[in-house]
Symmetry: C2
Subunit: 311 residues, 2 copies
Amino acid sequence: MLKPQHLLTLRAVVRTGSFVIAARDLGYTASAISQQISALEKETGLVLFEREAHGIRATAAAHRLVDLSVPVLAAMDDLGHQVHELATGATGRLRLGSFPTASVRLVPAALSALTATHPRAQIRLEEGEPDELVDALNDGDLDVALVYEYGLSPRQWPDGMARHHLVREDLVLLRPRGSGLSSRLAGLSRTRWITSSEGTAGALSLTRLCAAAGVEAAVAFRSNNYDVVRELVSAGLGVAIVPGLGHSPGDSTGDAVEATRLAQRSAFRRVMALHRSENSNPLLGTMIRSLRSAVPAEDPYVHPAQDEQTA
Amino acid sequence: MLKPQHLLTLRAVVRTGSFVIAARDLGYTASAISQQISALEKETGLVLFEREAHGIRATAAAHRLVDLSVPVLAAMDDLGHQVHELATGATGRLRLGSFPTASVRLVPAALSALTATHPRAQIRLEEGEPDELVDALNDGDLDVALVYEYGLSPRQWPDGMARHHLVREDLVLLRPRGSGLSSRLAGLSRTRWITSSEGTAGALSLTRLCAAAGVEAAVAFRSNNYDVVRELVSAGLGVAIVPGLGHSPGDSTGDAVEATRLAQRSAFRRVMALHRSENSNPLLGTMIRSLRSAVPAEDPYVHPAQDEQTA
DNA sequence: CCGCAGGGCAAGTGATGCTTATGCTGCTCG
DNA sequence: CGAGCAGCATAAGCATCACTTGCCCTGCGG
């Protein structure tokens, strides 16, 4: 197998016309050059230089070989660059899964942060609920997934998954402004509730919260889209409990909705990035950092997580 | 510097999905594969395989790297083939110089022999007299030259030249058939002579031969083209002395010209191939062999040289 | 004629890269 | 459920490689 280094050396020698100069250029000793060229001659079966008393003369075969080497060396060089880009994540692909709220509240800012430093990275976004996303992770269909976990219905994540906590959100009670409804759960026994689909962790949390407060939540409307939920609340159709990212200051419904943080200790939701711990995609770290940087800092109901990581 | 062998190994591992199988395919031990892959991972900074309990799983980066390697490996392979062709002379260039008679009598057959075995070789033919050809050899403008030397005017060839004797030609006296002229030089004192240009070795040889025979050669016509000389003889315009290759049986003038071998010991001409002894063009040997094979075997005045070589 | 520049060659040495041997893990089959 | 085993990692040993140092040879040029 012809060694690329020998081709580089040959090129230098042919260009400079001297072993000594080529050696200086390449940081070798003249003897090393001599031996490399000898090896190359032996390996190719070509006589590359005519040795003369004072110096050498490149053979036609040497010039020919230099020319023939150009594509090889170019390809090698190109490969080197592309590998470096791959290794640093400058190029490369990452498949991100996210649940809807995060897609809206976190992902856009994260992606713009990421593309600022990795403009040629290819990010593919897939939306789904945590269960689906975890399956996709396990199947290797996703590199990283944004998932959540309610304090009141903690989840068990599969083995081999690394977790990166991003946000701890307070759960917030939303009431139509001026409705006169209580801000405490115990006083909301006769109210209509709006929550997410049956069986979701959000709906389950509502049930448990109300049960703990001694009331039963009468669910009138269900939607997994917190924008819809807020609109329903602002239209006076009921009250709701949403996590912090589901109701941020500056929301269009801000004026018509009254928000109150729930005081209960476990009234929170955590958002975390999940990925298989064996996954070594070089963009992983960058993506998680970008997601961290995308967490709103000024939101009273949203608390960026410390740089904790659990495997 | 990324080693091509590692890329080949990577490809084998990715294709087979196993270190063990790849090792068997490549004739290595599984451990060697493991170490090669480790080295490659270290060098590229990429994680190429996820190690699992039973086997490995190729990372996206591994597949990517295999794809990126394709041009490099293809270029290497191509280079290998081209180098082999260069080394065996299958391709490659050779510049041959020749004097006119040899161009006609030797070169065509030699070239057809050579192209039979080296169909893609590029041969360039340059015509000239020995002095010009030797200069061209020295300047590196020719790889090999066909030159001649008369027994009566031996030449001194420059240092550093390798000689390959090809032919020893008898010198032949040509008379018009039925002219009644003597076949011995001593009896040709009043005849008109036809010979080559003044100062050429051929003309000089004639002078010396005649001087030795005690006659003076009256030169009436000069031509360096033996075809022309023979035509002049056959037209009855004089007699001539030509080397064997200048008058072969089957020549169109055969019937009208009477040929007699000169008996003098030094009445011969030698044709030899000359090249700089440092010249390592792989086609050199082939060309000289081809020239040898091109020497007419049945010609009574032409004697193939033994495989002698003098440096 | 001697100094010197350029290259070849030999010996020494550290790095490389293979092998053999052993360890580790988790699957598979009795 | 446990033993065997398949597959890879790692350690140790060893041969080879490849570079350096040091010396030689050659031919030019003062």
